[in-house]
Amino acid sequence: MSNIDDQKPEVSEQGNGITRRKFLKILGTTTAAGAVGCSGSKEQNIYPRVRSDDSQVPGVSVWYSSTCTECSAGCGIKVRTVDGRAVKVEGDKSNPINRGGLCALGQASLQSLYDPDRIRQPLKRSQDSQGRLQFVPITWDEAYAQVQQAFGENSKKNFILTGETNGSLDELLSQFAQSTGSIRVTYDASVPAEISKAAELVFGVSGIPTYAFDSADVIVSFGADFLETWISPVEYARSWADRRRTDSPQYFVQVEPRLSLTGANADLWLNGAPGSEIYLALALIGELLRNGKGQGVNPEIRAKLVEVTKDISLEEASTKTGISLEKILTVAHQLNSAKRSLVVSGGTSTATSKSLGLHVAANLLNVVLENVGETVFVTTPRKVNTSASSLQALITALAGEKANVVMVYGTNPAFTLPSSFTFKNELRKAKLVVSFSSHLDETAQLADLILPSNHSLESWGDVRAFDGVASIIQPTMAPVFDTRDFGDMVLDISAKSGLKSPAAEGGKFRNFIKENWKRQWKEFDTGGDFESLWRKTLENGGIYAPDRIRERTRIRIANEAMDAIKIVEPSFDASDVKEDGLVLYPFFSVKTFDGRAANRPWLQELPDPITQIVWDSWAELHPKTAARIGLKQGDAVTVRNRYGEVNVPAYLTDYVNEGIIAIPVGQGHTEYGRFAKEVGAGNVFDLLAPVISETGVSVPLLSTRVNVLRGNTNPKLVITTGSNSQHDRELARTEIIDGRTLGAAHAHGDHENGHGENGHGHHEPKGFAEHDYHRADNTQSSGPEQMYLQREHPLYEWGMAIDLAACTGCSACVIACQAENNIPVVGKRLCDMGREMSWLRIERYIDNEPGEELQVSFLPMMCQHCHNAPCEPVCPVYATYHNEEGLNAMIYNRCVGTRYCSNNCSYKVRRFNWLEFDWPTPLDWQLNPDVTQRGAGVMEKCTFCVHKIIDAKDRAKDEGRLVRDGEVQPACVQSCPTQALVFGDLNDPESKVRKASASSRAYRILDHHINTQPAVSYLQDKKIRLVDHV
């Protein structure tokens, strides 16, 4: 670990000398580590040291702070390493962006690190004796020599093609580009670059604004999937939920043609025709202006706005979008009467080739509603570099054989750029294509030379996110394979080519970053000298400005903004498509994002939050549309146009527009490793027309029509839910709030008073809930009388409370549980047989009658640790029993596998090991040494992360105290972006979980039917309904 000696662990659990307990603990965990198969190749030389490194004690966790690089949000992470290996990625509480939570994608970065199909050493393209393409290993020196040689010939242009880069890496590449005369090309399909352009027009500041979802009384989102993938989903989900759980939740309207995770959380979900949102946005502006809104707007601009919008009535918007006038009036009324509101736009439904108008209109709505400086902030916007036109310029250069060296890093245009752009064909025309990818993806597959870079958990870097947050990316472990830091490689090439810049001390990117920070650190007025600041940064993972900058901004609306908002009929490339062709609606999901996450089995097996489909791609179709084509659920669908073809199974749902076919992007890889290949037949990007948006920054996703035919394959759609409806069983309960009463509260800004401690309501617990809680407690006289002696929990009584109003269904907890508890991934075939192993699942129910307002519930379900557990008495060998701390304990060693416990479990949370599960090396390096791996034939289930409880109790005992509230955080609780889950001691009257369990919204699932007395309480979801809007 000498190569990362600079990093400072934030928490080192090392004591003063080794006590007997510690010795045994170390002995135990190292033995366990041995047993789970930690037989690595590189780490072996770490432990034989006679005097161990201070920061490394065998079996003791060391946590490193870093920054997540999975999407461009820049969440802070803490990486738990044991014996020199990263075993868990958690959100960093101190980071103001994510505040402790982390999405599924971020947590699954571990599986990208340990991907068995990662590139293991430098490779050179060659052909085998039969002329087939293959990559042969070469040495680093040979690889560098080739690159240098190619750069030496300057007759043609050099290109540096990257994904969205940030901070020092951006600086490094700019310097390198300047020295070598290279052109930088940035392309990342997931970055909402149009929003940056729209902000420039309306606010005069280029970049992505910051949004405060917690301050808005009314949120109207035009397709922005801000709870799942849009810009910074963990941050937005948290602030959305912070308001949601108060007594005065915001009224949230989502307009989109396909139900997204965000739409599922909306109070009002409006299904508008694809590309028609601009009518609604303009009609709303007009209506609001007529109602006297926007008095603060420059009169000239106001006049212009009135002029532009005067012809667009709400009625016309209703006709164009297909949304009923009544609902549009509701939205208009809500926006009009709200004190603070927020309008956002984004996602596929706005990604037409002329989407700028809608984004500008959304910004103007914020201007008219005077939200800028209240809920929208443009003082420190995030810069966006991505540019589709620069990539097209590269393709043109390639086609003209004018490209010399093309360096590719952190982007996969061969997958994410539609094949109609012919990138794949043209790239090979470059003299030398050098890929720095760490995975053999579609673009790396086209390279002449692959210099594999470290995974971001092995790399150095930094991120400048919103709000003056600067965070550091630092290696958490020695590289798994023979790979190098990308920054180091650039510096090496620079030095070997004799360039003056970029350069850094020792040729290390780490020093480059440090130098870079030294130049900029003054802006963080932290006091002290740079060295101590640097040290602190490494410990904390970054420097975070104490408060968000929320001053009012001067709005400089450019004239072009007015031009942009003119009505543009959405245009769809329909060449070769029959008249009844559907609009293709490719969408991003947390499962595969833009395809970068497809090589992670955790995410492949994660049920899609809306459809509950695993291990596949699918096409969402409205039943009416499907009936027209003659398709049933699960039938093969061939989606075809002149650009390509995709074959996927059909998923019929009422919650897509009849005119579209919605397919998630990210599946259908032809390369990128064993888990990504063969999942989903065909890449959806390849169906898109070669269109670049009018701003030139993005490739519009909503731009193409396709023919939809019955396929002739025989696909198997694996859906993990047994029923879409909860059949009135009151499992996931929702409190319907009358929006009319809220409207008044919002108008007066009353919600400030609603912010309770820990975000829970201020309602005094009503009698019902209080009694309900004490049912398990036989010392209380209240509550229904129990026939038998009740369980006693003298010291601790562990319990959990889950706030369904705050739960968005994002499934971060599912991945956290999987990572923490060594839960195997079983694959599509076993999932189809109902043999998935997840201890925690998010149940999704849709319970509205046809024609009623959409009512989606997400219900996280894990072992309820019942005090009257049905599983316990039926086990013939006492393999499961109730312990004195209220845990339903499971003894794997004692289990003989009668599976009666699972049959009798009312919550169906027990999982059986149908076989001896396996992790292909090095995926097994991720296994948590604190948790046993279960063998074939035994039952398993959620333990409330009992190893963490034991750890906390040991620590408390050493310090002569009780475990503090919040000290134990099971993986799910820790990871939750919205803090919907609370865990703690129900015996402690001051604990958060006790208070939450006594809330008037609290209930226990099935308890009133079968008296199981679960230790998990749920707090009812909330939905606002406007019965009568005027």
């Binding site: 909860q726 109902g834 086990c875 013939p876 049959n903 169906k908 059986f912 076989l915 074939a936 079968i1010």
Partner: protein, 452 residues
């Protein structure tokens, strides 16, 4: 009630009985060998299936989340049910002095023992870690670990092992005098030795007969409560749980009636071919079939009543989970299984109200197989349908039949058939002693061939 020896003028006498029964023990014909070969190959299929499951884990079976019990427990309950009527016919009817039992009870008893032997395999097959099956036994151990006496599965262990012990003992005791007859007429050295050992030195002395009859009566009395208890305990495997469709107080009588129903049907299924093959028509006569037909009618009605009661209580309880379960059974994904059960167990036996069919041997043979199928599906419905639709709709699921399920199911029939085949060739499958009890003893005038 008519029985063997009633004055019908047929020449059933001691000699005929001896000859007919002992003829069964003659050296095997190729047909017998074919039958044994068939059974052994089915056993081999079962053995291969089980081996695959032990090696590769329970993934080989069709179980899933949430249907954690499937064909194995169905088979277990099916075979325990079959085992039932043997004891009913031999012990209970013995105590009631129902003489129609005499020619059939030995076969029924053999069926009982072998069915329990078959049933007993399934809890083992069904274990995730079969190599630790002995943890279910309360054996003293250094870890002072005891099984959980609250678990119905443990009661099962006791109930089934007790039943096996008692029914085997009862069976063997009844066999002793008959084996002695076989011993006396055995020709081959092997048989002579086999029967000499197994007849336990029976000489037919007065004191031996005295002890024998009181022991038989005693074991009949001991076995009688087991007829009720075993299947009641098996039904508690379900009734003690809180699974909608399982948790019902009606289960013990319902299961016992069903067990007798299926057991009698199985006796008919076995008796008809054996009667034909070994030419037992003189001993096993239409009257016996008529009696069994009546037993089938009674138990079929009880079973049908129990089905209706289940539906009624689900409706009356107003419990949404129960209600859904009992809507699901006839109209859900597995409705076919329900309707097979309903037809086979409730509709088809109604034909027996037509009296001539009660003694129509081909019809009875078909009906008995139909009932066996129906009773297998009854257990299938109870187990799989209930588990498929429990409390949490998200976790509703389906079973995936695999070749291992099928292999072990047919293997069980092979295993049972193997024991039966071997038994009829080596031991008297019809009780010589008891039939003789009701025949006039051979006297001088009887030689003329005129009975009383």
């Amino acid at each position: 009630m008519s029985n063997v020896g009633s004055n019908k003028g047929d020449a059933v006498d001691y000699a005929l009985v001896n000859n007919t029964v002992l003829k069964m023990l003659e050296p095997p014909t190729y047909r017998w060998l074919l039958m044994l070969g068939l059974c052994l190959s089915l056993v081999a299929i079962g053995a291969v299936s089980w081996t695959a499951q032990i090696l590769n884990g329970m993934q080989e079976a069709g179980k899933s989340h949430p249907i954690m019990w499937g064909s194995y427990i169905t088979n277990f309950v099916f075979w325990v049910g079959i085992a039932h009527s043997g004891t009913l016919i031999s012990a209970v009817l013995y105590l009631f002095r129902a003489k129609f039992r005499m020619p059939i009870y030995r076969l029924a008893e053999a069926m009982t023992v072998f069915a329990v032997l078959t049933a007993g395999l399934f809890p083992l097959i069904h274990l995730g870690r079969v190599w630790f099956f002995y943890w279910l036994m309360p054996y003293p151990n250094q870890r002072t670990l005891w099984p959980n006496f609250r678990s119905p599965l443990l009661w099962d262990v006791f109930a089934v092992s007790t039943y096996l012990t008692v029914s085997t003992t009862f069976f063997i005791i009844g066999l002793i005098p008959d084996i002695a007859v076989a011993r006396d007429s055995a020709k081959s050295k092997f048989r002579k030795m086999l029967y000499s050992i197994t007849s336990l030195g029976w000489s037919g002395s007065n004191s031996q007969w005295k002890h024998y009859t009181s022991a038989y009566l005693f074991f009949a009395a001991l076995a009688t409560p087991l007829v009720v208890s075993v299947h009641s305990v098996v039904s508690w495997d379900f009734a003690m749980s809180i699974v909608p469709g399982w948790h019902a107080t009606i289960f013990p009588p319902y299961f016992v009636a069903g067990a007798i129903f299926s057991g009698v049907a199985m006796v008919i299924t076995l008796m008809i071919p054996i009667r034909k093959a070994f030419k037992l028509e003189a001993l096993v006569r239409p009257e016996h079939f008529e009696a069994m037909s009546k037993l089938i009618l009674v138990t079929s009605s009880v079973v049908a009543y129990a089905y209706i009661t289940e539906f009624y209580s689900a409706w009356w309880s107003n419990n949404p989970f129960e209600r859904y379960q009992f809507w699901f059974r006839p109209f859900g994904e597995l409705a076919i299984a329900f309707w097979i059960m309903f037809f086979c167990n409730c509709i088809a036996p109604l034909a027996l109200w037509y009296k001539p069919l009660q003694t129509n041997i081909p019809f009875l043979f078909c009906l008995s197989i139909i009932i066996n199928i129906g009773m297998w599906f009854e257990r299938f419905n109870i187990i799989l349908q209930s588990l498929a639709r429990e409390y949490i709709p998200y976790s509703w699921g389906m079973y995936n039949f695999s070749w291992v399920d099928i292999g072990l199911t047919v293997g069980a029939f092979g295993w049972f058939g193997m024991w039966m085949t071997v038994f009829v060739k080596f031991f008297p499958a019809v009780s010589i002693t008891e039939i003789k009890e009701i025949l006039p003893p051979p006297m001088r005038e009887a030689k003329s061939g005129h009975g009383h």
